[in-house]
């Protein structure tokens, strides 16, 4: 079945530094990839989504490119801010006809002053 792997459970950075959160996936169908961000005690909110191979998608300073050849959709930002501290989930949906999201285990990003 489908699966999503996020290798970093916890990332701590100083404000202003770049960040990359890894996401790889497995599916036998056409993939749709999403990044959701969840601040403490809040609902997950969509940050980015893509189904187009090799096309960069951007939102709120974050960006990611879906690479079907390597089954990856890594999230990046060039300069993190204190407000970026949150839990980030990579999620997969596919073309099988069920629109459920399969989530990775999440990466807790903490930005220090």
């Amino acid at each position: 079945g489908d699966s999503v792997t996020q290798t970093e459970g916890l990332v701590t950075l100083t404000k202003g530094l770049p960040v990359m959160l890894n996401c790889t996936y497995q599916t036998t169908y056409s993939p749709f990839l999403f990044w959701y961000v969840q601040h403490l005690n809040e609902a997950p909110k969509l940050l980015l989504k893509s189904s187009t191979d090799n096309k960069r998608t951007e939102h709120q300073g974050f960006y990611a490119t879906l690479h079907k050849s390597s089954s990856s959709f890594h999230l990046q930002k060039s300069s993190v801010q204190l407000s970026d501290s949150a839990l980030y989930f990579c999620a997969l949906s596919d073309s099988s006809g069920s629109w459920q999201l399969i989530f990775g285990s999440g990466t807790q990003l903490t930005v220090m002053p």
Binding site: S30, F32, F34, Y36, E42, A43, P44, K45, L46, K49, S51, F89, A91, S93, S95, G97, S98, W99, Q100, L101, I102, F103, G104, S105, G106
Partner: protein
């Protein structure tokens, strides 16, 4: 747009009691999804409806859990004979899914119901 509404926000039950969680999707959205979030298991899919019809319940525990969508404005998740391992945040999400292959729309999440089973 009030977003997805979930009630109650917090619920405490004793072991063996029943818990009913409510979700009101965004008006006009045709798909409703239920997920469960725990520290250990992360975010897990439970079930979903499209145009009120159950489409996929592959994530639902086969015993004690049931979900319904009696009308387009609300869905319920019922847990019978609750157990401590049912303690979690239960998230409801809705989207504009048309059902067309290749048209994955964004799922908008509610704030969740935090269930604690003592």
């Amino acid at each position: 747009n009030a977003g997805v509404i979930q009630t109650p926000r917090h619920k405490v039950t004793g072991k063996g009691q029943e818990a009913t969680l409510w979700c009101e999707p965004i008006s006009g959205h045709s798909a409703v999804f239920w997920y469960r979030q725990t520290i250990v298991q992360g975010l897990e899919f439970l079930t979903y409806f499209r145009n009120q019809a159950p489409i996929d319940d592959s994530g639902m525990p086969k015993e004690r859990f049931s979900a319904q969508m009696p009308n387009q404005s609300h869905s319920t998740l019922k847990i019978q004979s609750t157990q401590p391992q049912d303690s979690a945040v239960y998230l409801c999400a809705s989207s504009l899914e048309t059902g067309e292959i290749g048209n994955q729309d964004t799922q908008y999440f509610g704030p969740g119901t935090r269930l604690l089973v003592l």
